[in-house]
Symmetry: C2
Subunit: 286 residues, 2 copies
């Protein structure tokens, strides 16, 4: 008779984008039972996770109940969640209790906000694991991916963009920067990477590259010391598409601390559009 091991149970708090689905898939492959709680306004309305319960982010008590009902001890946050408007959140009772502390922490920046949110779940007895622990296979490897090789100018731009991204990360501003021929074209704050790439595309052509003559590099880095369990940078097909539209020559990211979603499609897209993709070591940036 085969020995039956009780599968581990994982509570998955589902935000926007493709990452939660990927995490769920990999968790199941690792033998875990996945219990999703979908965040209204962020989680995809149609996915294999969407038949789990739905909660607004002010319903902290409801989310805790869902997780307890599912009898999970480990939970994982995955996917995009924008900063809420604290004054219009629909709160349940636990939400009302916890929100003053969370919104005060939010004034210190994104990272303090995330730590405050996580502490609510830790205080309720849950272990929080990062999506990177479950989905390690999605993390970016080191060095050149794809077939396009950066030239000397592009390597110099990538190194400078990495320094800038790290420095603005230290100020808890954001995770990305674009440098073209030595000049900082854009720095990411609350608008996000896509909006930063769009505005880069709208700069005068004298400042930036073009599809025909690409120049400049986007680099994303996690903020140094940031809460890794909730907010690692992600790069996907759309990032490559938009970088190409902005005339960039390539994208740099931090080895082991960046999720590459749909990696195969992303590599094919980068090769087709002539962009390089490169994994940097955060320690070596400076």
């Amino acid at each position: 008779m085969k020995k039956q091991t009780k599968p581990k149970h994982l509570g998955l708090i589902v935000g926007g984008g493709e990452l939660p689905q990927q995490v769920a898939k990999l968790a199941r492959q690792a033998g875990m039972m996945v219990y999703p709680v979908n965040l209204s306004g962020f989680a995809k309305t149609k996915s294999e996770l969407s038949n789990g319960p739905w909660r607004s982010i002010g319903q902290i008590g409801g989310i805790l109940e869902d997780l307890k009902d599912a009898d999970v001890s480990q939970i994982c946050f995955a996917g995009i969640v924008d900063r809420p408007n604290f004054s219009t959140l629909q709160l349940d009772e636990i939400g009302r209790q916890e929100m003053p502390r969370i919104s005060t922490a939010a004034q210190q920046g994104d990272d303090a906000l995330m730590r405050a949110v996580l502490s609510v779940f830790e205080n309720a007895g849950f272990d929080i694991i990062g999506p990177d622990e479950i989905a390690a296979s999605l993390l970016a490897p080191a060095g050149q991916l794809g077939t396009i090789e950066p030239n000397q100018q592009q390597i110099a731009d990538m190194n400078k963009a990495a320094q800038i991204a790290k420095a603005v990360g230290q100020l808890d501003i954001g995770q990305g920067a674009i440098v073209c021929r030595g000049v900082v074209l854009a720095v990411e704050a609350q608008e996000g990477t896509d909006a930063m790439l769009r505005r880069c595309a709208s700069l005068p052509k004298s400042m930036r590259g073009t599809r025909k003559e690409p120049a400049g590099v986007l680099v994303k880095t996690p903020k140094p010391g940031q809460e890794m369990r909730i907010d690692l940078p992600t790069i996907g097909v759309e990032t490559v598409q938009r970088a190409s539209e902005a005339g960039l020559a390539g994208i740099g990211f931090v080895t082991g601390q960046t999720f590459l979603l749909e990696r195969k499609a992303m590599l094919a897209q980068a090769d087709r559009l002539g962009l390089f993709l490169f994994g940097l070591n955060l320690q070596e940036i400076e």
Copy 2:
């Protein structure tokens, strides 16, 4: 018989915007003769300066000749000039000689670029004076201007935005930042202040203020150690208009190191739209 003092001659290199006209006016009021050289593509095509010679920015030899013909010893750069595309500049002979050094310096950032440009004129024997020396009356005073007073949250946001603007200035990225309720909404790089304000206006309302409930502050600072003779921040009616459209509560700027153009109209506009205007001391920021 009245003693005749020979008036001083000032060569004025005219870029975009309203500042050059203001500088010319104040220089004449101070008894100087003004000889403008208009930069094609930047200087206003119709202004009281536009009957002076026109030069493209690659015609360095031509600009030097114009200045020598005018028999000036002091020159002043005023107005907006964007970074050029060095590969498509139309160069005259001196331009061809000087451009390799300038475009190499440009890779170090905006400030190195400006120093390299100024050194060409210094080496040709000209004294360069900053527009702030002529137009000191346009420089921002300290403290609250206008009738709107910032509240405690807005003062905290202004102080944080000032710290961020100073820090990103130290990295030679840009001159401005927007903070709203403790969160860095936007950081300025090559896109300029207007574009930064526009993208702030397009952020979700949950993150920012609105005309009805304004929140958040734009602060502009010169980059610490930057070349003051060519690139001080300027604020005018349009800045106030765009800041209001972005839902901001006010604008902070550095006392004595910011040009306030059309001050009267700007103050009236700020009062009407309910924005505060505040002069900060750069030394006290941190």
